[in-house]
């Protein structure tokens, strides 16, 4: 009994200082809620999703390298001259092949740009679809909002919705075409006779040059200071 107790006693500090013990402790303390009043930073939703995906791909990479190692070594039984592959070597092999693939993809994207000039623009080492396409999508989305708002005004005696949670207009119509689905900045409660008033515009994360919709149905690209002026934001002293 004493022997068992002695063993237990000798194991307890080693668990507390071992990497596994530390890991368990860190994992247990990580999700603790932030205490009120303290400045406690946490990962933003988008960053958390991206990091979780990175974690997933890393695990997949390691599992794949392990699979390659096992299969290679299984085959090596039939080929005495084939050397055994260690896990590190398998990982290095997959890394080299990935680099090769990266080179091929860069070559393909370069060739794609050469074969279809004007469709793509260079951004660092990559090519992205030309901005015109994005601007077109942005314009189309705000045009969709305009149609919905005009329909609403026509059926409500020329009054636009008081806010952007009305039942008649689906939620997706209010969302600008960014990844997070940020809602348009909407000025509720206007009527169709306030022709020059700003009705809605793209949110701030669309940059300094944003699409803005006016009550008369016109869609213009405006700079943030112009938008602020139309929204009634006072100038900073």
């Amino acid at each position: 009994m004493q022997f068992v107790a002695g063993r237990l006693k000798s194991h307890t500090p080693s668990v507390a200082t071992s990497p596994v013990g530390i890991l368990c402790l860190l994992t247990a303390t990580a999700p603790l809620p932030a205490r009120a009043g303290m400045t406690v930073y946490d990962l933003t939703d988008v960053a958390r999703l991206r990091l979780e995906d990175i974690s997933f791909f890393t695990v997949l990479l390691l599992v794949s390298a392990l699979g390659i190692r096992l299969l290679w070594n299984y085959l090596a039984k039939d080929f005495p001259r084939l050397p055994r592959l260690s896990f590190l070597k398998a990982l290095s092999l997959t890394g080299l092949l990935s680099l090769l693939m990266a080179l091929i993809l860069i070559m393909i994207s370069g060739a794609r740009e050469i074969l279809t000039p004007g469709t793509w623009y260079r951004q660092g080492s990559h090519y992205r679809p030309n901005d015109v396409g994005n601007a077109e999508m942005r314009q189309q989305t705000i045009e969709g909002l305009r149609s919905a708002l005009m329909r609403y005004a026509n059926s409500h005696g020329g009054r636009f919705p008081p806010h952007d949670y009305v039942e008649e207009i689906p939620g997706r119509v209010w969302e600008a075409p960014d990844m997070a689905g940020t809602r348009y900045v909407y000025v509720g409660g206007l009527s169709t006779n306030q022709l020059t008033a700003l009705l809605a515009c793209e949110p701030r994360n669309f940059g300094e040059q944003r699409f803005a919709l006016f009550v008369d149905g016109e869609i213009k690209q405006l700079q943030t200071p112009e938008i602020h002026k139309l929204l009634g934001v006072p100038d900073k002293p």
Binding site: L32, E52, D53, F56, F57, L60, Y74, D78, H163, E167
Partner: protein, 237 residues
């Protein structure tokens, strides 16, 4: 080690959230992937058929090539064994998975570095901006006797300098009208919450001290004022 544990217990989430997310984040990421996978019967059948045709075809080809290249006197088997084809296919699959993983990890890192949203955010700072605006609007409402137009006019100018934003850009107000020309309530919703799970909305009503609720309670809150926003009011919620 002791220092790490001390820091973990002192300010756990801020310090450890990044490595812990990288360590255990693969699990929620895999769960997300599995739940979003929705393969159709046709697609699954086509995949299985393609794999079978590829395996049989490559086995036949390798068998033919092996029979031509194999020396007469050799210790190797007379026929190309099926396990060699299977092992080669397994290694090819693992290699492609590893290449894909490494490429996608690079993409995630690129998007993480180029995204407009920060990696870390302080939920208290986010919520303080809402509370600050709610208090300012409450004061404005009381001083203007909840006149809708007057209170609306004061909103864009609400000071948000401590979060370096303007109120109308970062907060979405829902003006709920009561008697003609008077406000019954105002609901403030964060326009682009970085930590959606901890984001809060503010409710301002005449004669009642403004209070906050979880963002997930937005629909119930609006419903309590007779606004049937429905589940599609914000697809991101």
């Amino acid at each position: 080690m002791i220092a790490v544990v001390f820091l973990a217990t002192l300010n756990g989430p801020a310090i450890l959230v990044l490595p812990v997310t990288l360590l255990i984040g693969w699990w929620p990421s895999a769960a997300r992937l599995i739940t979003t996978l929705n393969p159709g019967g046709g697609a699954a059948a086509a995949l299985i058929l393609a794999v079978v045709v590829f395996l049989l075809g490559s086995h036949q080809f390798c068998g033919w090539l092996y029979s031509k290249l194999r020396p007469e006197e050799s210790a190797y088997p007379l026929k190309w064994p099926g396990r060699w084809t299977l092992c080669s296919f397994g290694m090819l699959l693992c290699t492609l998975l590893a290449i894909g993983s490494l490429m996608l990890t690079t993409h995630q890192l690129y998007w993480l570095s180029r995204g407009s949203d920060p990696v870390f955010a302080d939920p208290f700072r986010e919520n303080r901006a809402i509370m600050w605006t709610a208090v300012a609007l409450q004061k404005s409402g009381e001083s203007w006797n909840w006149d809708e137009n007057k209170v609306r006019e004061t909103f864009p100018g609400t000071d948000q300098s401590f979060v370096n934003r303007t109120a109308i850009e970062s907060i979405e107000p829902i003006w709920i009208a009561g008697e003609p020309g008077k406000l019954r309530a105002i609901v403030l919703v964060p326009r682009h919450p970085l930590l959606r799970g901890r984001a809060r909305i503010a409710v301002i009503e005449p004669g009642i001290k403004s209070f906050t609720r979880s963002l997930s309670e937005l629909h119930q809150t609006l419903a309590s004022f007779g606004i049937r926003s429905g589940p599609t009011a914000n697809s991101a919620l």
